[in-house]
């Protein structure tokens, strides 16, 4: 139990620092690499919670595909690479106030509602249970998501095509 909490603390600290890096760094490529750390930390938290399948899907889909897509996007739009580039607008303080306000409300509500609630599985969830749930109970949402992915694919090709 103590080891779990120590690992949680280390991973959470890395995720918090990297998340702040994503929104404050002056270099666009560094922001993408900070995002890799946040997403990998998320996958590690999923493993801590005993949910292995979604952790590896997160590594494959997010770190494997989405980040590569982001790097392509950065390079194709010739993002400013020099460190003193102006990447932020003049809304810094109002935005910080809004984010801190929401964090205060969410944090207060969570501490009030789930004070002292323990979480932790006796054994990890097996992948066969996940696939049974997807292909038996949630088969219709699964098919709808498949159609949505097809639509997104066709839409992305149509939008980005040069004609």
């Amino acid at each position: 139990m103590v080891a779990e909490n120590i690992f949680f603390g280390i991973i959470a600290a890395a995720m918090v620092i990297s998340a702040l890096g994503v929104v404050t760094t002056k270099n666009v490529v560094h922001a993408a690499l900070f995002l890799v750390i946040v997403l990998a930390g998320g996958a590690a938290q999923f493993i801590l919670l005993g949910q292995e399948f979604v952790a590896w899907v997160q590594v494959l889909v997010y770190i494997g595909a989405v980040i590569v897509l982001f790097l392509f996007g950065i390079m194709l739009t010739r993002a400013p690479m020099h460190p003193d580039a102006d990447l932020g607008n003049d809304l810094r303080w109002p935005a910080a106030a809004a984010a801190l306000f929401l964090l205060g409300i969410l944090g207060g509500l969570l501490v009030h509602t789930f004070h002292g609630t323990e979480v932790g599985l006796e054994r990890p969830i097996r992948t066969v249970d996940v696939t049974n749930a997807i292909f038996r109970v949630y088969i219709i949402p699964f098919e709808v998501v498949g159609v949505l992915l097809l639509g997104a694919l066709v839409g992305a090709v149509v939008l980005a095509r040069r004609d």
């Binding site: 779990e4 909490n5 995720m15 918090v16 998340a19 702040l20 929104v23 666009v28 922001a31 995002l35 998320g42 938290q45 999923f46 801590l48 919670l49 005993g50 949910q51 979604v54 899907v57 997160q58 595909a65 989405v66 897509l69 982001f70 996007g73 950065i74 739009t77 010739r78 400013p80 990447l87 932020g88 809304l91 810094r92 109002p94 935005a95 984010a99 801190l100 929401l102 964090l103 944090g107 969570l110 501490v111 789930f114 004070h115 002292g116 609630t117 323990e118 979480v119 932790g120 599985l121 969830i125 996940v130 749930a133 997807i134 998501v145 992915l149 997104a152 992305a156 939008l159 980005a160």
Partner: protein
Amino acid sequence: MLLNQFLLLAAFLFCTGIYGVLTRKHAVLVLMSIELMLAAVNINLVAFGAFHNSVVGQVFALFVLTIAAAEVGVGLAIVLLIYRNLHSSDLDDADVLKG
């Protein structure tokens, strides 16, 4: 482990994403901040799934992952189109519809 430590981490990531969406000018960085918010939601779903000892949280986290992938694909196509037409990926320049 407490349930709250995961939920508070997710709340922090979500608020960081909101700050990024509001302050960033470059379109790709705004999309990255949205990904940060989606990752926070996934942590919430998985934590509640573990709390209820069920696979449902994991299944819906997988759906969120799929939608996020589709969103990034279409979003980056739109960013490329804006860059091609305006020769800038600065969102402040994309104000054609401004009255």
